[in-house]
Symmetry: D2
Subunit: 410 residues, 4 copies
């Protein structure tokens, strides 16, 4: 049992922190302003982003998420966790280090399951940060928390697959640099329940791909990436675009979501840490009813509880990462499910306390609290709602103590 | 003890409900779209609003909030509660019936404390829905939860008051029809703590009044009304614009906030009811893991708890309204404080459950849940944060059982 | 809408309060000591109890629970609520006024469904407080939260019913004055699901009735009444002892539990009020870290939240009572279910805060907090666990918004 | 970062688990019965206890708590944590392995601060399990959460110290084998605030030591050890009985409480684990409303949340233990405070869910849930109430972000 970070990690933490302090924090509002001053918030990414990416690459702060050392930085998940946390302190930071969702998930899929040709065409530019990508899974017509509900079709016709489907919450599709989507759909409705699905690469400029609208999240548009509602109407792509093979969609999703989920959790911990810092500073600057807000008992309780909850979430995240490193993503499934339930709710509580402590400033955009809150709120739904993860955890727990009856499958 | 609504109330409930179903619900999204299609979301109010107002006035659904029968509908607070609740189901509805904050509060101030001349110039057009107004109290530089912290100056100079101050969260100031602000500031820093403040009417087109920016709430701009940051620099208004008299600002605030607070709570109950309806419908339409969402035990628990919490909040609101009617706003202070703590948190929980039950649709603008959530969240801060109300309640409770020591004043 | 208590109620409140202050509060610990000084805590009831009962009867504070004016005080449920609340402030008080469970429930059953002979033999002495009774429903072998699970047999054999069954949590059976049980069991396993059950009167001295042991509740034995595990082995009683008729057990249970449930809630509100009083007094008497506990922000928040939660629970209880009075117990089912969920949890929270505020004294028997807590805890289980009530509420709520699918029956 | 247990630990876990399964679990109820069958529950310890202790000593399962290898097993805190957890599954188990409070704390005090003579006379028999001891600190007249409130006197008079004081919650004093108390009191009221206190060894058979009564905890007497109210009236002991020296009481208390606190937390984790096991088994054995309790969504949520909360509490406990081992008890103060807040509340929630899932059986003594709950409840108060730990944590957190004002000392 050893709870210390290695020297390598501590060095990277320092570098990242310095980068954030020098470049990101002082320019977050400027980034947002530049975005708003454009004709459309979707037409262009403020140029400081590419400049930051160049700097990050030079400093070796690039693709840290990828344990695979051929393509990425070769850090373990346990090593990456405290670094990803730092990136999570700003909503615009992860992209700077090429560590942002959903591209990281897509890169992992291509590293693991992509053909050499797919890697060359799609993975390499993603790894270089030259293009962006999106992931098209959720559908408006069904409860997508149950992935077997998905209705889109991926049907082979000659040398091409034909895709028909209606998707939404395809995050990142609004980005002007976004080149392709990985689409999940059904290739064989007669196969076994978890072998009906396939994933396929669809270039966004293919005929029949239509972005209907960008969906807001609590009033935020999340430009320039955003969340798209997309229809795929008789979209034809070469059959070589299938990933891994027909019927592998569900298996890929399972593999893809593990790392993706824990990355979200790491970032949420950073967001919560930052919120706690903001709160601690602000309550020492302001007074009401004759004493510093920092001396109000209730606020002290918020601070203590926030510290306690952050610590616990961080430890659970690290344990999950450790199990992924040591035993593989599949073995770490219970821990990933746990942290996926814990981290968003923890972050929401910490952020909400900070908002309350700041008063009206907290709900505005003068501080990152409200925007981080809205983001964290989506993560109680994205990649599986809390309830699905809890049901899976209960199932696993009950199986340890099997008595007489079969437990329903989740 | 009689828990039934009078026939008068039941009739008005039906009329209001029909109005909402015929006019408001089907057009909420259109209203929002028209707003966005304008050059600026602040330049104009979609014309359907004035048309609705005309209809509402014709149907006697106008100024229902005002117990004073000379100026308003003459309903008691207890009678108004279940009607205001219905209006609260849509964020754009209260204005339709001339029952929207902060105008209602301003009208009450003018009815109670305004001179005949003030009434003629400012109250009458407000009562007619011809103009809008705003209320300028909160300041960015101090913890405004303690109203004695307020720093703006209102200083007599000859026949004029000169106002200097920096305000924000002046809600409604963005509305193109907004004509004046009621500004709170200090007229005498040497007076007793709660007699230093005055309120004064400031026409928004007076020289020295500058709207610096409109503040967002969780990404929402709340156009066309919005929340303004305003500077008042050597703003001069006739001394007749003072309300009630110098040093009366705190007393007016206390009187103003009672009804304002309970109206917010009434509307929140309506918002929660509507959210529960949306949830109940949606979970019967969707299935996951082989059964209707409506049959998932966890969701059933959300529904039951929501019903329970709404009922309790409604009863407490009605009790507070009853005490206001029977014993006056001052006597009802504890109940108003209680419901001001209860209603926003209750609504946030119910809305949050509905969001979770709807999945990603819940955080978007396809349903009113996220927007209502953001609005409810501000109400844990506006008109006094929860913590201040709780501290006052504790003080009152402790005084019932005085033992040996003095309790600190809140 | 009228939230005032009638003069009749206010007068009775005063009388009851004076009785409690004169007789009960000063002697609660003495009562407990006398009980412990006996050879067995089950052999005798401290004589002060009969003396109190005599006084209560003389003052007209007797059988207040019974709306039926032929047998009881003829108060409505709404009138009884604030009185029952006062009794709930002491765990030994309800018996003083002949208003204690499970006798009240049994008296109501006999008033409604008893034959003249049953009334003469069992109801009259109960109404006079001469004997006590118990109610035998819950069984150790099945989840009794689902009453259809009950396994005991009530089989007609000639002129007698033969009862075989294993029951526990038969409260009151330990009392030396306890004369009979109302036993629930199955008389016809082929009848429709809710017509298989019957209820029958079984004198406790009948052959085959064996009290196996008295069950503790969080270490409390609740002597002299207690909770018994009882076996009924070939117990024969005259067929006239059946109540209402064969197959009516479930219907009686439904009728019996409504008033019983709401009485529990009324008492819990009194227990919570008393706890809040104790807390408010104590925190003004003690200091830590240089200031009165009453000035610690966290404790002030406990006090405020307790007041808020008590008020809401009381209003919901009164509304439920009102609906029972005006529309009947069946119509009031949703409100009864709501308050049955709300009141125990509310009381547990308030009691727990008081315990925490008192420190170690709070968990001891120097204050009634721990004992009241343990009692309240059982009421999240007794008369239906929270989860069953919530499931019923959800079902009712979903039915208001029926969309396409059938909702599972609870 | 390494989350694995060492081989040494895994081996000891297995041995301990086997010991618990062979000896403790099957005899817990028998132990309780034997205690009750005695004339007094305080007169004697059931003989199986000494027999178990002998076996445990033979198997090397003895004094595992003591990191000091001269006197104890020499395990680090991190190694001891998962072992102590296993002992915590039964309320009577810790004594079997000589690892029970308050003896462990007293042994640590004597190891660290005792003179050779004190060690010989009091430490050696404690280490051998031949005698028991108690710790006399809390007083009924003051809020003992603030240790500076303590009023007892320890005054030098010639060669003796004279002790006068009124203590309660002196745990373990009821045990027939209890030989001495460590008493905390004031030796110099003119010294600096945290140097007024001393600790002294008082043999329980000294004249002037009177056990007034044993205090119950939620109805449990916790015999044969119990919690005593004790008066010390002109109690004279040799001056050599002072520990470390006059004025060192507060420093010793700080040192004593660190390990004591974390041991409580370790045991609570074990209690929660056991409760979760009981719940998982029971809900698979019972059905209601047509399906296994294990398939009710709400119960599945309880199970998942329990697993999640246990995991997080365990990790935080291990981290605290790790910091104690690596940097010392003082450096680990924040983590100890955190886990002291987290573990009791976590255990209370898990135990409460298990109770609810078991129905009435849960509140009885047929399962260890209610007794463990009552024990855990005291641990939100003992060794510092939650609020004091939270206030300290907030202070530490605020100091990291010092802005302008001084933060009040806790």
């Amino acid at each position: 049992m050893d709870f210390s970070y290695s020297e390598k990690v501590v060095t990277l933490q320092k570098k990242l922190t310095r980068f954030m302090e020098e470049h990101i924090y002082p320019n977050e509002q400027l980034y947002e302003e530049q975005l708003s001053q454009q004709e459309s918030r979707w037409s262009q990414v403020p140029p400081m982003m590419e400049s930051w990416k160049k700097k990050a690459k030079e400093q070796g702060l690039w693709n840290l998420f990828l344990p695979d050392s051929e393509y990425g930085a070769g850090l373990t998940n346990t090593e990456y966790a405290p670094l990803c946390e730092i990136m999570g302190r700003s909503l615009i930071a992860p992209e700077v280090f090429n560590c942002n969702a959903p591209d990281t998930g897509n890169m992992e899929v291509l590293v693991r399951y992509g053909t050499p040709e797919q890697k060359k065409q799609w993975l390499t530019p993603l790894l270089n940060g030259e293009i962006r990508s999106c992931f098209s899974m959720t559908e408006p017509q069904v409860a997508s928390s149950d992935a077997t509900n998905i209705e889109a079709d991926i049907v082979l016709d000659g040398d091409e697959y034909v895709i028909n489907g209606h998707k939404w919450w395809t995050s990142g599709a609004g980005d002007p640099r976004c080149r392709f989507a990985i689409v999940m759909g059904k290739s064989n409705r007669n196969a076994r329940k978890h072998e009906q699905q396939s994933m396929i690469i669809v270039p966004l400029d293919t005929q029949g791909v239509t972005i209907k609208r960008m969906l807001p999240v609590f009033g935020y548009d999340h430009a320039p990436h955003g969340h798209a509602e997309i229809t795929y109407t008789n979209v034809r792509v070469p059959k070589e675009n299938i990933i891994w093979g027909e019927g592998k969609g569900f298996a890929i999703a399972q593999g893809r979501l593990g790392p993706g989920r824990i990355h979200h959790c790491m970032r949420l911990i950073g967001a919560a840490e930052y919120a706690l810092e903001i709160l601690c500073k602000r309550v020492q600057e302001r007074s009401a009813f004759g004493k510093s807000l920092a001396n109000q008992g209730v606020i002290k309780e918020w601070i203590a509880d926030s510290r306690i909850e952050i610590e616990q979430a961080r430890l659970l995240t690290l344990k999950a990462a450790y199990k992924m490193d040591k035993y593989g993503n599949k073995e770490a499934k219970p821990e990933i499910a746990m942290i996926k339930v814990v981290a968003p709710s923890m972050a929401l509580r910490v952020l909400d306390r900070a908002i309350q402590g700041l008063g009206a400033a907290g709900v505005s955009d003068d501080f990152p609290l409200a925007a981080q809150w809205a983001n964290a709120r989506t993560l109680r739904l994205a990649d599986g709602p809390d309830e699905v993860h809890r049901a899976q955890l209960a199932k696993l727990e009950l199986q340890k103590h099997l008595v007489q009856t079969e437990v329903e499958t989740v």
